[in-house]
Symmetry: C2
Subunit: 323 residues, 2 copies
């Protein structure tokens, strides 16, 4: 049976040596060389718990890659390149070697995909699989959630509803056209945080947030923290979402608004910078969509749909939602 | 029933506002002002799992304080003052409000005790209680585990065996004299990492490690990573340990060597700096004990007891040890 030394060894030996200035993995702490003079430290932790965050059919390799992706997505929304990460692994006693190797492969894949170094971690004995990622980077400043002002554009980096559709396919057996099904499940298993886009457009964003708890929660949070109303002009549906929704008697609007697990960026851009933002997004291979505008809080409280109805504060909420 | 927003709110509202330069809790990431120019970032994560790390009778307040203490101890051994921490909480669905308040109180107590700021965190739904602390600080360099050279003194910041005795009292019902019992259990419930000492003597240490996995593992690790042998001249028993051991037919030596949960510093000091190290330790209110010396690896492989027998690589090992 593997003990903690075996587990740490199985993981770390897959990673090459850390560059000069780092302390090799295996000391009490990790040491990461400083950022540019004056740069602050950006820190994020995100805990993946298999029983709530890992959909049916997702391998442990995909799960550990996803755990890293969840943090990368937050960095992307803040316009910061992540530098390094640590991982706390909670594993059941007697976890087979092959599963630990799968976890290591997913971490390695993530490390290469987003150029972020594994610098250390910890293990603990838990009945569930837990992958808690702690990520660090450097920046002079970040794009905050509370920076939106009235009369700005509300933008997103993509469309919504696909991953929630994927969950409904996997968990409820919802029916879908084969191409839609494949892409919906792939978006769940292999999330693609918008790091390139986030780095490209961050200077144009007045506020921004990642949409991992759903579009509705992102919009409501930016609205509440910035003290502005949001009037949506469009709901950015994923391709094929309306057909999927009508086939299974879902509301496409609900799928797009109240889902989660979508690692898009939701933010605001002032009128003067929208052209620049769109052009920078395109250079990063991504379309920045305008889906609405901000108004003063006295004009509108909360977030209004194109038909005037209000967006509820609903989406993925731990200890409330059920997968 | 509390959801994640209630939980986060119950915790964060107990903490005051963060100083200028920090981003308030509640954004996608935490932002921490930079250290001195040229300072690297020091990072540590430590996962406390209630079923293996929380002894009988320990409250959730003590548990969350202990989770922070575990990281502080690693910083102490490296000679680095911690700046801030994040906490990932895994909690069972339906955790009562009072328990969350207890967790918050323990985190707040720890935050004040070691002057380290809570800057963010995450929650997840788990059957066990999990408190994963991620701590960050700044330093030009750290005292590493691999810096010991032959002909140095081996030192510790205290004695050993008391916490292991506490565990045997709580778990196996071992008998103890009331004063010993009280102190043994208190050392388990309220660990006192050696932060003041670590900061005071770090410049004198050639290598160092915290002893949370036991004295034997600390000595063996320094010996292996530094490539030196260690010859012990003394085993630093906690006061009353031998009486406790003989009363319960334990080996005092085993209790002192192969326990764990003792948040002492184990390290090495060159002959030229031992006076300075002892004097600085005393100024920090602590006695630095010389318990042996290092020799070249060709003279001695591993760690030898005063009677010449070898110290095993044994102590607390996750996925192997049983509480």
């Amino acid at each position: 049976m593997l003990d903690e030394y075996d587990i740490v060894n199985l993981i770390t030996r897959r990673f090459g040596e850390l560059p000069e200035g780092y302390v090799p993995i295996g000391d009490d702490v990790a040491l990461i060389p400083p950022g540019k003079t004056g740069d602050s430290v950006v820190l994020k932790c995100d805990m993946l718990v298999a029983s709530t965050d890992v959909p049916p059919g997702m391998s442990w390799k995909m799960a550990s890659r996803k755990a890293v992706a969840m943090c990368v997505s937050d960095f992307a929304a803040k316009g910061v390149a992540p530098t390094a990460f640590m991982v706390s692994l909670g594993l059941p006693r007697g976890t087979p070697r092959g599963q630990v190797v799968a976890l290591a492969s997913g971490l390695l894949q993530a490390s290469r995909e987003w150029n972020v170094k594994l610098v250390g971690g910890d293990t603990g004995e838990v009945d569930d699989l837990i992958i808690d990622i702690m990520m660090v980077g450097f920046a002079e400043q970040i794009v905050r959630r509370d920076g939106a002002r009235p009369r700005e554009y509300v933008v997103t980096s993509g469309t919504f509803g696909q991953t929630t559709a994927g969950l409904r396919i996997l968990i409820d057996g919802a029916k879908a056209e084969p191409g839609f099904r494949k892409e919906a499940i792939s978006s769940l298993y292999m999330p693609r945080p918008r790091l390139g886009l986030g780095l490209a457009v961050s200077r144009c964003l007045s506020s921004s947030m990642d949409s991992s708890d759903g579009l509705a929660i992102s919009l409501r949070t930016i609205s509440e923290m910035s003290g502005v109303g949001i009037r949506l002009t469009e709901l950015p549906y994923a391709k094929g979402l309306e057909e999927f929704a009508s086939r299974n008697s879902y509301s496409a609007q609900d799928l797009a608004l109240y889902g989660g697990e979508e690692y898009e960026i939701v933010g605001t851009v002032s009128r003067g910078r929208i052209r620049e933002a769109k052009s920078k997004a395109r250079s990063a291979g991504c379309e920045l969509r305008v889906i609405g505008e901000t108004v003063s809080a006295s004009t509108l409280k909360g977030v209004a749909l194109p038909d005037g109805r209000r967006v509820r504060r609903d989406g993925w909420v731990h200890f409330r939602s059920k997968p």
